[in-house]
Symmetry: D2
Amino acid sequence: MSLTPAAPDGRPAISVGMLGYGFMGKAHSNALKTLPYMFWPDGPQVDLRAIAGRSEVKVSEAATRYGWANYTTDWRDLVNDPEITVFDNVGPDQTHFEPTLAAVKAGKHAICEKPLALTVAEAVELERAAAAAGVKSLTCFNYRFVPAVRLAHDMITNGDLGEIYSATFRYAQDWRTDPTAELGSWAGALSIIGCHAVDQARYLVGEIDSVSALLTNPVTTAERGEPIDTMSALAQLQSGAPVTIAATLVAPGRKNMLGWEINGSKGSLTWDLEHLNLLRVYRRTGGPLDGFADVIVCEENHPLTKAWWPSGHVLGWEHSHINMLAHFLDAVVNDGDIAPHAATFSDGAAAARVAEAITRAAATGTRTTIASVS
Amino acid sequence: MSLTPAAPDGRPAISVGMLGYGFMGKAHSNALKTLPYMFWPDGPQVDLRAIAGRSEVKVSEAATRYGWANYTTDWRDLVNDPEITVFDNVGPDQTHFEPTLAAVKAGKHAICEKPLALTVAEAVELERAAAAAGVKSLTCFNYRFVPAVRLAHDMITNGDLGEIYSATFRYAQDWRTDPTAELGSWAGALSIIGCHAVDQARYLVGEIDSVSALLTNPVTTAERGEPIDTMSALAQLQSGAPVTIAATLVAPGRKNMLGWEINGSKGSLTWDLEHLNLLRVYRRTGGPLDGFADVIVCEENHPLTKAWWPSGHVLGWEHSHINMLAHFLDAVVNDGDIAPHAATFSDGAAAARVAEAITRAAATGTRTTIASVS
Amino acid sequence: MSLTPAAPDGRPAISVGMLGYGFMGKAHSNALKTLPYMFWPDGPQVDLRAIAGRSEVKVSEAATRYGWANYTTDWRDLVNDPEITVFDNVGPDQTHFEPTLAAVKAGKHAICEKPLALTVAEAVELERAAAAAGVKSLTCFNYRFVPAVRLAHDMITNGDLGEIYSATFRYAQDWRTDPTAELGSWAGALSIIGCHAVDQARYLVGEIDSVSALLTNPVTTAERGEPIDTMSALAQLQSGAPVTIAATLVAPGRKNMLGWEINGSKGSLTWDLEHLNLLRVYRRTGGPLDGFADVIVCEENHPLTKAWWPSGHVLGWEHSHINMLAHFLDAVVNDGDIAPHAATFSDGAAAARVAEAITRAAATGTRTTIASVS
Amino acid sequence: MSLTPAAPDGRPAISVGMLGYGFMGKAHSNALKTLPYMFWPDGPQVDLRAIAGRSEVKVSEAATRYGWANYTTDWRDLVNDPEITVFDNVGPDQTHFEPTLAAVKAGKHAICEKPLALTVAEAVELERAAAAAGVKSLTCFNYRFVPAVRLAHDMITNGDLGEIYSATFRYAQDWRTDPTAELGSWAGALSIIGCHAVDQARYLVGEIDSVSALLTNPVTTAERGEPIDTMSALAQLQSGAPVTIAATLVAPGRKNMLGWEINGSKGSLTWDLEHLNLLRVYRRTGGPLDGFADVIVCEENHPLTKAWWPSGHVLGWEHSHINMLAHFLDAVVNDGDIAPHAATFSDGAAAARVAEAITRAAATGTRTTIASVS
């Protein structure tokens, strides 16, 4: 026997405390466990310090399952733990505000799942608290970290599309189509997925000036869940360009179809989450071979691919979370910028302002300007 | 030599007079020449009686080219010709109203290219005049006669999609993207192609109650053409369902992309004109093989295919015109119904009302109800 | 009344005599009637002189339907008619040889549907007879005249793909999948559609040196039809590149799926007949936006589009026949070249030699060289 | 502070020793680290006991990076370690045979990357040794563990496709297209990727009886690498059905395009690795809505999805490895079956026999029967 014990990972570890253990708890736990060896050797090491949740049975099981060193049924224990550097809130929507605010005020860098808060006022308070505390903040608009979306962002920023003439963003799912499904406290199309569509619009084509909107609930009564099955908005960017933004939970066959098309003076782009590795690119050259190209965005010369696999070995949904958390933790370690690639609490608040304007516009039938302050 | 002279076609011929010889004159001439032998033996025979146009050089050439027996530079000659049964107006938009009205008043069955007229008032006058004269009328929303669109209509009418929850219609082209192209009197996105998107919506998912809208012209100044490069509308159907309707002439790479998606309680459909033979169908069964099916709509068991080719021998754009004119002329011969499959002048007027509401909504920023009368 | 009679079409008319009135008779009649006004003013005028067929009831009806001036039940009447310049044989396979040979010997320019003949010997005799008579010949490999296929040919000829490394050609249909369908005298997968796959290979990537092959008939017994449901060949080009060539009549869901992929040193192309307006083009630049582009081949800067419609107004199956016959008749009128774009009887004979080699290779299990002479 | 330490994972851990730290070492390390918490609570716990590799610098880094407890530069240390239950060989092809044989003889359950060995004789010796030792074996044909591939397998096994009439399998990449790239000891298209195509064929449509084949090397000389750039085989299954099997490293634009089409009496399936979540399914019902359906295979009612994410949250390439190793380790723990879903050493040997027959067939030009014994 001449096995040699492996040397310890010498990189400084970031200690994370997480609130929540559901679908997003699984996605974030997986990301935090994966990124240290995928983003090697420049990425951070992570210490899964503690996980919090209401049910002791479930949170203790999650701790064992994912390798969190400790658990608690009181999120305040995370906030009060001086060893925790980053607070990651993946709990239900109604638990976003208070714990995140407390964490920020305690000097923790803070991650919060979308939507950042239930009201604009709360979102803005979080934004201001993070600024006041000088901590880094992240609103989990993870789709910014799909490589094809990043490439699109970079192309637009570089001017490859020229002036943006119009765009359309839509997030469609179908799990609410069944009128007998139990929904309970589930939020509606605007909160659950609409905010992703809004954030993709802001990230890719810029700030929204005003919106007209419709909200409908052909399926969901107030007894079953938040009665918003579809959200349809006609927005105008500050640049003047028209943009449609929509979300629906009742589009049969659309399993997880966040998609968009962007048309500029020099070309067009389309993308969707069900085929997330593909960016469809049209560059207007006037030549006979112009056409929308299916670019498989996982090559060496693409963004966000260095950590992963060789040519054409495509990524999945979860990689958006891994890339996002790696970016955030790297910024924490190296005092780097969260923006423009990741969404901060400012972006979370901006999305909340758009959501509020959509709600008001739907109620009034009037084109509604996005509030510049809360 | 024992060649036997062919017997004459014994079917009664409909005598047609056509105004216009441009792109649409070519499409309609081709349709009128093709349909007698394709819709054999039940379809009509056609007598290409006369063609009218302003330029004698051009109209006389068109007459020779397409086999019109006569030509004239004054459309009134068509109206006044007692032998002409059907007046087919494929002239420029501004020549739609007066000649068509005169033809109708002269008792001709009348075909008019879209948009039916430049104003709602004119369109309604045409609608009323046709009704008063007891003639059959056709507004050339030819895309109703793509087999895949007909199949979609039939499915929705049969209830195969259940209740319609939301839909989106968009007609995108890119020929105006070049800011140096000469446009002259060309109309804008609402008139040229937007009306097709509106009509597809009405044909497939029903009447529109109200609209919010944006019109922009990032490229086209008033000197170059009608300054509407993009039209974006957020409509609510009378059923309550939200529908986005858009048209753009400045979407690079979209060559002739009229497309839509319709989501109902039982399934979803998508279609686009660049792949016009395909209807993409999702039927919600809950089974593991549910998925959007690429149905190639040119089989024996599909509508509008009987006249054409065997399995999988796909059709092109022009066939929508041939199918449409065959339907209309057959209705003239057999006193059949134009609606619901073809658009009458009532449908042309309805589309004009929607266009007017879009224009007003864009100007006012207010959700605008479609006028129920002119 | 001031209608002016149209001037006659002053172009010289080519007088055509056609044998056959089935599916291909319909396609060719439509082509001959359409091309004079579509290929205006440079194309030929056509005189539909006479149509021949065995059944007087059917051939006389076809004459009336399509506007053939005369009919006959004896194809020899066409051969003997001094007014007929072009003999167009669209009859059943077994009627290809004798009438076409007689027509050629009578000095007619000759069109023959595929396959040119039932044996290599007959095909070569036709090839030689046409050469001896100095007439122009056309084997109806119509898919060469799909604009996307022509563009591919031009790209390859221009060297845009560099050296060809490999390719695959396949023609798949499904109408024989039903084991109870009556087939009668229908030929098998090699004759009906396989020859198109062979011709596409020869047209696009060059001459075939040798083949290995399999023929199977899981469905069709000799009582029902020619017992060849699938043909699979592994060919080696004279250049050395490997090419698979296949045809099947029992591929459920493949309605008319002639398709191919070609890989060269500089790029790749794919195309299929069910989406015939699209050429998918990959050009290897090494840049981050490389991807297969969906080129809609019906723009002004594309081949074979001049006669047709504006940007994005896509074509259908039948246009391949119209383009092909326009090319042939134009060559007859102007003594132009049939090759390389259209297939002559030499190409028909070459395809027959490949088919014979496939048959022998399947029987022997041995890589079989294509005979250089019959 | 009231954090409670998490309870230890009570599941028995399987101790793994791995040889190799390259691309596959990364993929397998990731899989072994991920599967314990994804396949919770029924899956195995894994003890990353030791990693072996030739370069101490690299293997020690890999140990630290991935969390292997120990490392060694001599693979015999793994074989000799009594604590190691599973030997996982992800080293270069030439290191597959001897270490794997030694591990099996030492009673380790053995995993080996493809190809199992360099010769049929070696592969068969491994197969026999594993049987003699009574250990479980796995040849890493990981694409069997893509959910869409599993669904296809299940459908075919259940008879949903009826009798298989024909199929085509092709694995195309393009990284060898550049004639100046350094390749060194890289194997050719048959070994690197061709074996995956062969295995997919065997897994999905059954055993191969004979092959004809071509091997070409338009780019790669023997100085640069194994001179096989393309492999093309025409196979006949034992059932009689024709199957084409091909692999190429010089198909521009094909980044990782393992794909296939399978046609049976009741329907057809297609799939490709670049869109790995999609199974395209055609079921022949004869109805008007028949069409290839894009089934997104990551729903609750699909195989291999239980461990992962909700509806439409698609998977990537690496998940095939995770699913495969979870399956194997679960079988080790519970003495379950490796076959039919995973490939054993018998399958590795079968693939080697097909590869050998392809090589001989290419050399001789003769249809070559697969050896039933080595």
